[in-house]
């Protein structure tokens, strides 16, 4: 019997190792481990053995079966390994081939700036308001203390839809709409398009983006306005930047100011961009005119307010180093792509 077992094991070792693929291995393993295989034959013979031998032979056969199974398993793994290796060997790519990358789109530069400013002010607790591009004469002018025939109307050449309807010349039109709809405290910003009769050239566009800022409360002062604008300029141009305030005139603010920012190109030293002054014009602002508060239904003896309007187009040009405003409205994809 021992001899037989040794022989089977020997044959199995020889034959299983010869199997070329899984199919052959299945057939070969059936010869030894199958229903009619060699092991099965010996098992059947077990019944005829005397009881005292049955046990020891049985044990030997179990060991044989384990050994055969191990042989098959080992071979199976070897074959699978070979298959995988072959597959891997065939799966070759030239990793150096250049590809056209899947890419994100981009935001328009003026919109990037707008979003940046909105985020800045919203984080400071301001509410963003939206208004119409087409506005009544009342909200665009009259309610801002610019009655008809007021010389200040000539400061802003206006596109008219009809005698009472205009393309808003500034986002300041949103000041009165906001104040009419709510009592203070008001902390509002509004962004959008403004329109003025200007031929398209390197620094002018008849349509341009603006940001409006309005704060109305009991204790709001010119110092708060200057601090707010100073903070904004530092946010945009860096912590060493600052503002210079000059007196100015707008019919809807009193006192009115213009704020110049430290020239971002020369840091205030003087260069061609700032015409050697070290400053660039940035925005107009002021304390909301008491007449404007009153016309909007706010008691000017209790409340004060400040307002500011900032043109976004030239700021975007400055920020992104664009020298011709037309480039921002042309939408050449090769320019847009750069604003990742």
């Amino acid at each position: 019997m021992d001899k037989q077992i040794d022989e089977i094991l020997k044959n199995a070792e020889a034959q299983i190792s010869q199997a070329k693929d899984k199919q052959e291995l299945t057939l070969t393993s059936a010869k030894f481990l199958g229903k009619n295989g060699a092991l099965s034959d010996l098992m059947k013979g077990l019944r005829e053995l005397p009881n005292e031998e049955k046990r020891s032979v049985g044990e030997k056969l179990n060991i044989l079966r384990d050994k055969l199974n191990a042989l098959v398993k080992e071979k199976n793994e070897a074959i699978e390994e070979a298959i995988l290796n072959e597959k891997l060997a065939n799966e070759k790519v030239d990793v150096t081939i250049p590809v056209k990358p899947a890419s994100f789109g981009t935001m328009h530069p003026i919109e990037i700036l707008k979003k940046d400013l909105v985020d800045y002010f919203v984080a400071k607790g301001f509410e963003l308001k939206d208004g119409g591009d087409i506005e009544t004469d009342y909200y665009c002018f009259e309610a801002l203390n610019v009655p008809k025939e007021h010389p200040a109307r000539e400061m802003q050449d206006t596109f008219y839809i009809d005698s009472e309807t205009v393309l808003r010349t500034h986002t300041s039109a949103m000041q009165v709409r906001t104040m009419e709809s709510q009592q203070p405290p008001i902390k509002m910003i509004s962004t959008g398009n403004a329109y003025r009769i200007d031929e398209v050239d390197a620094t002018h566009s008849p349509i341009f983006g603006q940001l409006e800022i309005l704060v109305v409360d009991k204790d709001v002062t010119m110092a708060d306005l200057i601090g707010t604008l100073d903070g904004l300029v530092k946010h945009l141009l860096g912590k060493n930047a600052g503002i210079r305030v000059r007196p100015s005139y707008f019919p809807f603010t009193e006192p009115s100011i213009e704020a110049d920012a430290t020239c971002p190109k020369c840091q205030g030293k003087g260069c061609s961009m700032c015409k050697e002054t070290g400053f660039i014009e940035m925005l107009g602002a002021g304390m909301v005119h008491p007449k404007v508060l009153e016309m909007s239904g706010i008691d000017s003896t209790i409340y004060k307010g400040f307002a500011a309007g900032i043109g976004l187009d030239r700021l975007a040009m400055m920020r992104f180093g664009v020298s011709d405003l037309r480039d921002l409205y042309e939408n050449d994809i090769n320019l847009l792509k750069q604003f990742k």
């Binding site: 087409i134 506005e135 393309l167 349509i207 110092a223 005139y249």
Partner: protein, 792 residues
């Protein structure tokens, strides 16, 4: 407003101040200095010299050696000019001069003789005959005997001055004068302001004059006769100042009207007294089609909106705009009438506009001239006429209307200064600053009572006074604060604005680039978009005064703007572009309280990349899923879209947009050769995104079945999915299309559609029978609705 340093010096002592310091002071009190020009630039080292000796150069035939007396000092200069002579006064540029024409002068040796400079021609000094007679003579400029040896040439020529161009604020008509600007400057510098000479000698002139004002547009009119005028060129400094500010000198009378206009901001006019019929001046509105020939040699046809100065026969001038030619001052004029008047701002503006003229006078009236200014202007011109002894001024001055010279009281609560500015300004400082501005201020209790001179019509309220205080106190003294004392509000942004932002973020993930286009469009766009007559999209909001026809209507659709962007890019060989914009369209539907057109915010997307309908629909579906919405798609006919490849995007039962291929004719109209796909969604029609509560994970397993049916090729899959969903209730969790097949194994004209159906019950495991039952119901419904047959 152009003003010169010397002219300002008439009113305020500017000693010790450089031009730049003066410019800086102007900036700090609210004037933008747009330009600053030193007229003497380049003439610093050029002085008047007298040729005391002239001799031939020993080594050069064409050169002469001049010994020049510079007033005590003598230099030797060699010249090649032939027009010099002994005794002549000439401009001598000395060693180190850097002439206006760029020439640099150094002492040099010319053929063995030293030349310590150069004698100058007018050309080398960049001046012409308007600055000095015969300046452009061939050779050296020979100066008249009023020049003094050693004098700076700029001083002799009247060019020792600096011209400032200041931007004048719209609320300060009083700044349109040297007088007004000098007063501000004096206040800014805290130096004394010197009033101009306003008194004159009057005579008993016997020439009668009558004035009648018939129009309410002339609240004040002064007329004064000057007899026996001696017309001549104006004094040199008057001429030079007029030239510096851009006015050509003519004769002493005309020059003085211009001089006073510029100096006092009051438009003045002089008429030839003897030409005025019946010596009567009538101020009235023009009658229709009345004509006048003006000083500019143009004949103007008038209308009743225009105010005229007339005699009893005809208009003799356009009030506040321009004088009539026939009545102007000329060589034969003996007697004149000086006019100083106030005309209505609006009337002058309308009149000047309707005639298409704008003059120094009209622009001042348009901004507004205070009545006190008419009195000052008249007195000033008469004082100058008297000073220059031009004629006999009548002691009778006709005055129609009133001069408002009364000061106005404005009461400023003291605490209002701190409440407005955020800093304390001492009462003493407040009063001192106001005093500089001629505002008399007095503290009474908690208030400052301010008496504001009539000419400062811009000061009406406490806020105006506070502005004056801080303007001169200095904005730099304000310590910035950051709204620490304001109350908090909720802040943030509304749903539509959030949605707009989110859209931009989502769209960027598709690789599309955001563009920014004008809302102005050309009316011809409607044709390019194949819109039929009567299409609602043709009903656009029109601009009354557009820049051009191409920018004359507000857009009613977004696609044209985006097609133009693709067109521009295509023309630059950027063939494949993928762009989007969140922009506004304007609908001529004024159903709101302000009677304004409706403005809709549209997300629009256009691609000229090589894609198909389904690639683009995948983007709208991505948006739907980001918004947590279900979009449905209904075949749609839109003029500018492909007739068979376009669907309305429907939410609930509302159309919110559309998606499809752009009509090839339209792309061709925009000169684009590539196929374009487009979609737009009206963001205002999307519901706000809600915060959703989590759905618990399913407790029981799902069951899956594949269903493949053959239907006619025209059957729409969307319709089949709708039917499947409606047939069995909640137990159908998902229907997924996984294959559409047309080909050999399928009958011609038919297609095979395969769905994966996913069933689940929330409260129990589905039985095999329940799933079979549902499956069979769905199949039966597809059979009856679409004549579908099960594909085995």
């Amino acid at each position: 407003m152009i003003v010169t340093l010397k002219w300002l010096s008439d009113f305020v002592n500017l000693e010790g101040l450089g031009a730049q310091e003066i410019a800086d002071k102007f900036i700090s009190i609210g004037f933008e200095v747009e330009d600053m020009k030193d007229l003497s630039k380049g003439m610093e080292r050029v002085r008047v010299g007298r040729i005391v000796k002239l001799s031939k150069h020993p080594n050069a035939d064409k050169l002469q050696i001049c010994t020049i007396d510079l007033g005590g000092e003598t230099v030797q200069i060699i010249t090649a000019a032939t027009n010099v002579f002994e005794g002549a006064l000439v401009p001598a540029a000395l060693d180190g001069a850097d002439l206006p024409n760029g020439l640099k002068i150094k002492t040099s040796n010319m053929r063995g003789e030293e030349s310590q400079g150069m004698l100058c021609s007018g050309e080398e000094l960049c001046i012409d005959d308007s600055v000095y007679p015969n300046a452009l003579v061939d050779g050296i400029m020979i100066l008249d005997e009023s020049a003094k040896e050693g004098q700076q040439i700029a001083e002799f020529l009247g060019l020792d001055d600096v011209v400032f161009d200041l931007k004048v604020l719209a609320n300060r008509p009083d700044y349109q004068s040297v007088y007004g600007l000098a007063r501000e400057l004096a206040a800014g510098l805290n130096r004394e302001f010197v009033e101009p000479k306003l008194d004159f000698d009057a005579k008993n002139v016997k020439l009668p004059l009558e004035i009648e004002v018939q129009s309410k547009n002339c609240p004040l009119y002064f007329g004064c006769v000057v007899e026996n005028v001696q017309l001549a060129p104006s004094p040199k400094h008057v001429q030079q100042r007029l030239k510096s500010v851009g006015i050509t000198p003519r004769n002493n009378i005309v020059d003085l009207t211009n001089y006073v206009l510029w100096e006092m901001g009051q438009p003045m006019h002089a008429f030839d007294y003897d030409k005025i019929a019946n010596h009567k001046i009538i101020v009235r509105q023009a009658s229709l089609d009345e004509e006048i020939l003006c000083l500019d040699d143009n004949k103007y046809v008038l209308n009743p909106d225009i105010l005229v100065i007339a005699d009893s026969k005809q208009p003799i001038g356009l009030a506040g705009i321009k004088g009539g030619k026939e009545f102007s001052i000329n060589d034969s004029t003996n007697n004149i009438v000086i006019e100083s008047a106030i005309f209505d701002r609006v009337c002058i503006r309308r009149g000047a506009r309707s005639l298409g003229i704008r003059t120094d006078a009209s622009s001042r009236y348009e901004r507004g001239v205070e009545s006190i200014s008419a009195q000052l202007g008249l007195n000033r011109i008469l004082a100058l006429i008297s000073e220059f002894k031009i004629g006999n001024i009548s002691s009778v001055i006709l005055k129609l209307g009133d001069v408002n010279s009364e000061s106005r009281e404005v009461v400023l609560p003291l605490d209002d200064i701190k409440r407005t500015l955020g800093i304390e300004v001492s009462t003493q400082d407040v009063i001192e600053i106001l005093k500089r501005l001629d505002i008399c201020a007095e503290v009474k209790g908690e208030n400052v009572h301010c008496l504001v001179p009539a000419i400062r019509a811009d000061i009406e309220r406490p806020a105006d006074i506070i502005e004056e205080v801080i303007r001169f106190y200095g904005f730099e003294k304000i310590v910035p604060t950051y709204c620490e004392n304001t109350q908090s509000i909720s802040g943030g942004m509304n749903d539509l604005l959030k949605l707009e932002r989110n859209c931009v973020e989502y769209m960027m993930t598709t690789g599309a680039h955001q563009v920014r286009t004008y809302g102005f469009r050309a009316p011809s766009e409607f044709d390019k978009l194949l819109l039929p007559e009567g299409s609602p999209l043709r009903d656009s909001v029109k601009i009354e005064n557009p820049l051009s026809l191409d920018y004359s209507v507000m857009r009613t659709e977004m696609i044209g703007s985006l097609l133009d962007v693709v067109k521009l890019n295509a023309s630059r060989k950027n063939k494949e572009v993928q762009i989007f914009e969140v922009g506004k369209i304007f609908i001529n539907n004024r159903n709101n309280k302000d009677n304004l057109p409706q403005e809709d915010k549209i997300l629009a997307y256009l691609t000229s990349q090589n894609v198909d309908f389904f690639n683009v629909k995948a983007i709208t579906e991505m948006l739907a899923s980001k918004f947590g919405l279900t979009f449905n798609y209904k075949p749609s006919q839109i003029e500018f879209m492909h007739p068979n490849i376009c669907a309305d995007i429907v939410l609930g039962n509302k159309k919110i947009g559309f998606v499809g291929k752009v009509h090839p004719k339209v792309t061709k109209n925009y000169e684009i050769s590539a196929d374009c796909f487009y979609f737009e969604i009206n963001l205002g029609l999307l519901p706000p995104k809600k915060v959703k509560k989590v759905k618990p994970l399913p407790k029981y397993p799902s069951a899956h079945r594949d269903l493949a049916v053959v239907v006619d090729e025209n059957v729409q899959v969307g319709g089949m999915i709708d039917v499947i969903k409606k047939t069995v209730g909640d137990i159908l969790e998902e229907v997924e299309l996984f294959d559409i097949y047309q080909g050999e194994q399928i009958e011609k004209g038919k297609k095979n559609i395969a769905f994966n159906l996913k069933f689940r019950k929330a409260d129990a495991t589905l039985t095999q029978d329940e799933v079979n039952d549902a499956f069979n119901k769905i199949l039966a419904r597809l059979e009856s609705t679409f004549q579908a047959t099960l594909r085995s």
